[in-house]
Amino acid sequence: MKKLESRHWAFLGLAVVVVATMLLNFEPKLDISPEAKRMHSFIDSLPAGSIVMVSFDHEASALPEIKPLALAFLRHAFSKGHRLVGIALMAEGTAVGYRLMDQAAAEYNKRYGVDYAFLGFQPQIIAAILSMGESIKQTFPRDYSGHEYDSLPMLREIRKLSDISAVVSIADGNLATHWIEYGRARFNVTVAAFVTAVMVTSYDPYVSSGQLRAMVGGLRGAAEYEKLIGIGGAGRRAMLAQAASHLYVLALILVGNVIYFASRARKGRG
């Protein structure tokens, strides 16, 4: 059996911290950030019945962050009576998006084809966005389940991107920038995004310049959004574990530095 090294102890410590805090089943106090409030107000400000395109632009590996974010948004949008058109610009987002939309729609008794639809995946992101600017029907002749585009009542009134009130990109990479650069700049469609935490700093400049109408990021953002719409979810449940794991990382950094400087001082004396 291999001898345990320091990194093994660090991993083990993290696992203990996360599991212990999750077993506590306690939700800490949470302050809502201006970013989450901005997104919430934006979705609220759309008139009931607005058509919102949800683009699942992520891989399956981002699911722990993407699922709470997407569910919080979908629940809010359905509760406000918006009609949602789902698409995926990354292949792995297809099944995830379809399942999440179905799950949220079932909670609000929404009917497929009337209140929401899922068109599926198109490769070549830029070409797909430009093509939807001309005709969504030509880009997606059938939905994900194989129904003809015009056979779904809500899709009959949507011909191109300009018929959409807003596009919400749920992204774990830079795909939302394509929505800004091609969807917004060329077809004047409003773009908002729910993104993984790692992408927040990449999108912040677009929020500041007004090109991205609103952005919510990471598990923390999901927790804030869940609180804003008044429901429990994976985001809020994970906040204690998230805070504890960050404190644990800070402690490791401090201990590592103390050991480093102490050993350097000892060598200097020796």
Partner: protein, 204 residues
């Protein structure tokens, strides 16, 4: 518990076993992930792009305008043989030409011009007091640009500005790294929640 949850739980544990050391169980889970991801992407792309956009309209509905993209697509396969390699340059030229044509205005507008105009903000607020966030944006943009100005040696005022720019860059990198740690922790917490709740039923 359904079979999907059992498989997902076992595969999650298999992937986490790498934290101890590389092992055959981890390798199996890793190869399975790569294989399933590629297989799924191929099937989805075949149905969404090849069938719905090309083959069904062309051969099912007689839309002969699609012969040209079909031919260009087939010419791509010329790359697989040295003697026919030159054929693939034609569809590549179309792809690069159209791609660059679409990308250049998109890059110039939203990525540069709008971002520049977005950073031009009033330095004095409506109440007559300095707007510190605007001042920080101005100093940050100018000093960071100074850091990337390599046509003159970084001495004197340019040296001071570039050193300030370095601080802004460091703050940006630190923030990005912090968010990256947060993201990775979230991924682990997500899997831990799945294991504890759905797989082991230890929490609700």
């Amino acid at each position: 518990m359904d079979i999907g949850t059992i498989i997902a739980g076992l595969l999650t544990l298999a992937i986490l076993s790498f934290l101890y050391r590389d092992n055959p169980v981890y390798k199996f889970a890793e190869y399975l992930l790569v294989g399933v991801s590629i297989g799924y992407a191929l099937v989805i792309a075949w149905k969404s792009a090849m069938m719905d956009l090309l083959l069904t309209p062309l051969f099912g509905q007689g839309d002969w305008s699609l012969v040209l993209p079909l031919m260009l697509g087939l010419m791509m396969f010329g790359r697989f043989h040295a003697k026919t390699n030159f054929i693939s340059r034609i569809p590549l030229a179309v792809l690069i030409g159209s791609g660059a044509g679409a990308a250049v205005p998109a890059m110039l507008g939203p990525r540069i011009l709008t971002q520049v105009s977005g950073s031009v903000v009033p330095l004095v607020g409506n109440n007559g007091l300095p707007d510190w966030s605007g001042i920080v944006v101005l100093v940050g943009v100018l000093s960071t640009l100074a850091y990337f100005f390599f046509s003159r040696e970084h001495r004197g005022p340019l040296g001071v500005a570039s050193r300030i720019g370095t601080w802004f860059l460091m703050i940006f990198f630190g923030t990005t790294f912090g968010y990256t740690v947060m993201s990775r922790m979230s991924t682990f917490i997500g899997r831990a929640e799945f294991l504890l709740t759905d797989f082991l039923h230890l929490t609700r």
